[in-house]
C-alpha cells in the first residue's frame, strides 16, 4: 500500500502566510529567529506551561493537523537531538550543584520521546507510538516506519513528524567545535514539521510518497544516486540539502531557508506539499514531482513525492 499525504504543519524561520502564497526569505547569519505561533491558540495553557520548546512546537503542529478528539492510528516522531535545552540544563545544574538536591523537571522533559508521549496525552491516544533518533536521517526513519505501517496494517491516518531545537549553548559549543575542526559553521536552524498521512487516496490527498532511501555508509553522491536509480532530470523540482548539483531554476537549496539541522528534510517535505497546492511563490508553476536530496556527515537521503492532482 502506498503512503499518501493529507496535510502538513510547520514551524520554521519563515513567516507562515495563511491562505496565500508563501514567499521564502533567505536566511543570513544575522538574527533570523524562529517564527513561533501563538501556541495558546491550539494548546491548553495548563499543559503549555510545562512544555519545553520542541514539545510545544511539535504539539502545536500535531494539534493543527487533527480535529478535536481525533485519534490517529499512530504517532511517529523523528528527532536528531531531542530536547537538548532541558538536557543541557539538567546536566549543568547537576554539575553546578555538585549532585545536590535537584528539581526533576528538566530531566523528565529531556527524554527524546517526551514529544510523542505528549501528543498521545493530548489526543488521549493509546495507539502505536514511536520515536526515532538516527541523526540526520531521523525524519526519514519516521517516514519509513509510516510507509511500513501502510504496507502491513493499512491505517486510515498516522501522524508523522520531526522536531529539533537550537539553543544558545549549542551555538557556543558549535562555534568552538567548528574553529577546532577548521570548518565553517552554517546557519543553525530549528523547527517542527508534521504531516498527516494515510494509506487511502482521498479527495483531500495532496501527495504520494513514491520513494525513500537513506544511507549511513559515507557513499559518494553518484554511487548513492545510481544505487537508488535516481535521475535528477526526471523531476519538476529538486529540493537540495547539500548534494553537488548543477544549479538551475528547478533546484532550491532548502537549507538556505530553514538552516542546518538534523531534521531539515521534514521542512523540505513541507515545501513540496505547499508547491503541490500552489501555495509557494518560490516554486516553479505546476509542480508534478519533487526530489528531495540531503547530505549531512556520513548520512545521505532521498525522498520523492508526487502531486496526486497533476
Amino acid at each position: 500500500m502506498p503512503l499518501f499525504f493529507e496535510g502538513s504543519s510547520s514551524i520554521s524561520h519563515q513567516s507562515p502566510s495563511a491562505n496565500k502564497k508563501l514567499s521564502l526569505l533567505k536566511l543570513s547569519n544575522e538574527l533570523n529567529p524562529l517564527i513561533e505561533p501563538q501556541y495558546s491558540q491550539k494548546l491548553k495553557p495548563a499543559s503549555l506551561r510545562r512544555m519545553n520548546k520542541p514539545v510545544k512546537m511539535g504539539s502545536y503542529c500535531a494539534a493543527s493537523l487533527t480535529e478535536e478528539n481525533e485519534q490517529t492510528q499512530g504517532i511517529i516522531v523523528g528527532t536528531g537531538l531531542g530536547c537538548i535545552n532541558d538536557t543541557e540544563r539538567f546536566l549543568s545544574d547537576t554539575i553546578e550543584q555538585k549532585e545536590g538536591t535537584l528539581s526533576p523537571t528538566a530531566f523528565m522533559q529531556s527524554t527524546h520521546n517526551s514529544l510523542a508521549g505528549q501528543i498521545a496525552l493530548q489526543q488521549k491516544n493509546k495507539a502505536y507510538n514511536m520515536t526515532f533518533v538516527q541523526g540526520a536521517i531521523s525524519f526519514e526513519k519516521a517516514l519509513e516506519d509510516a510507509q511500513m505501517q501502510c504496507e502491513l496494517q493499512p491505517p486510515s491516518s498516522l501522524l508523522v513528524g520531526a522536531v529539533d531545537e537550537n539553543t544558545m549553548q549549542l551555538e557556543v559549543l558549535l562555534d568552538h567545535l567548528s574553529s577546532k575542526l577548521s570548518v565553517n559553521k552554517p546557519f543553525i536552524g530549528e523547527g517542527a514539521n508534521f504531516f498527516k498521512v494515510g494509506s487511502k487516496h482521498q479527495p483531500s490527498t495532496i501527495a504520494e510518497l513514491t520513494y525513500l532511501d537513506t544511507s549511513s555508509k559515507n557513499e559518494s553522491e553518484s554511487v548513492f544516486l545510481d544505487r537508488n536509480q535516481i535521475n535528477t532530470e526526471s523531476f519538476d523540482w529538486i529540493l537540495n540539502g547539500g548534494f553537488d548539483l548543477n544549479s538551475n531554476s528547478n533546484v532550491l537549496n532548502f537549507k538556505e531557508y530553514c538552516g542546518e539541522y538534523y531534521t531539515a528534510t521534514a521542512f523540505a517535505c513541507h515545501l513540496a506539499l505547499l508547491a503541490f497546492q500552489n501555495l509557494l511563490a518560490n516554486a516553479p508553476a505546476a509542480v508534478g514531482s519533487v526530489l528531495i536530496l540531503n547530505k549531512f556527515g556520513f548520512y545521505k537521503s532521498v525522498i520523492t513525492l508526487e502531486n496526486v492532482k497533476i
Binding site: 549532585e99 529531556s110 502505536y128 514511536m130 533518533v133 526513519k141 511500513m148 567545535l177
Partner: protein, 396 residues
Amino acid sequence: MEIAITGMGIVSAIGNNVAENFAALKLQKTGIKKAVHLDSRLKNSHAFGEVSLSNSKLKEELGISGNQSISRSSLLGIKAIKESIEGLPKIENTGLISGTTNGGMDLSEAFFKEWQQQNNLKNIEALLTHDCGDTTLKMSQYFGNFDYINTISTACSSAANAFILGSNLLKTKRLNRVIVGGVDPLTFFTANGFNSLMILDKEWCKPFSENRAGLNLGEAAAFLVLENLADAKAHNHPVKAMLTGYANTNDAYHQTASSAQGDGAFLAMKQALAHASLHPNNIDYINAHGTGTKNNDASEWAALQRVFGKKTPPFSSTKSFTGHTLGAAGAVEAVYSLLAIQHQVLFPNLNCQNSLTQNVASPISSVASSAIDHVLSNSFGFGGNCTSLVFSKPQI
C-alpha cells in the same frame, strides 16, 4: 512471515556473555552492588548494576585504540553484537537497530564537567558522538557498516520496540536479517535524574514487594538476531526461539507516571497475545517490567490481573539481578526469556519479602524447572510508551 531468532549476545552486571548471565541467574546471584567505574558521588550512597569491564578493558578486548573517542554505549553494544552474530555466516541486507536513552551522554557529561569547571575545551570532539544515532553508527562502522541502521528512543521500551521495527523490516522484505537490541551505560546524568525523581532504592530493589522503595539503575547491552524462519531453516541457522507476538501502545496518562489501572500495559499485553494468536493461559512465564518503584509495580500488577485474572502465570522481574538497564532492558530481558525457553527454567524475582500480589499469585521465589512454550516480556517507560513481546519455543 514467521520471525526466528538465530543469535544473541549480552553484557550486563551479571556477566559478560550469555553463558555467564545464565550461570548467575541459576545461582540467584545479583549483580547489583557498589559501582566502580561510574563517575558520580551517588555511588557512595546507592547500589548499581554495573558491567565489570572498564572502557579501557573493553577497548583492548575489541581491538579499539585507547585514545579513540568512543562512547561506552558503542563499546558495550559492539561487544554484545559480536557475540550475537558469532558463527552466523554474513548475509546481504543485514540491519542493526539499537534502542537507547543515553547515546553518547557518558562522553558529553565528562566534557561538560571539564568545560564548566575549568573552561577546558580539550575534549570537545566528544560532542560529535553525543546523539543517540551516532553511537549506533559507531557500532555499525566497527563491523564494516551494516546495510541499514536505526536508533529508537522510547525510554525504557526502546529495545523492545527494536524487535517490532526489525520484524516489520523483515516482513516488508526491506532486510534479510536484522540485529535488534539496545544499550545504555550508567551515567552521571541519568543517575542524578532518577535520584531527583526520588525513585532510587538505596538498597537492593524489591520488585513486587509491599515494602519496595524504588529501582536500582543498571547498565547493559543486548542484541538478538532476527531472520525469516524459512530463510533460517534453508540456511541451517540455529533457531533459538520465535518472536510470535508484539504490540506497542501508549498509556496516554502522564509524562512519567503510569495509570493506576495500567491501561497502556493492559493493551500492550492483550494485543501482543492476540498478535501471537495465543490465549492468556498459553503463557508459561512472564518476564515483568517490574522496576521496583511504587507506581510501576502497582500499575503493572493491575494490568496483569486485567489480562490474566486469577490465573496469572509464574512471573518475575529480573531487574533484581541487573538493575533497570533503561533502553537496553527489553533486549536484556529478551535474552533471559530465550534462556527460560531453551533451558525450560523459571528465573526468580529476588528480594520480594511480602508480595503486593498476595492471595492471588506471587512472583517466582527461586529457580525452578518448568515446561515453557511461550514467554511474555514487558517493557514500559516514560512518555507512556508500553511494549509487550511474546517469545515461543521453536517447533521441531
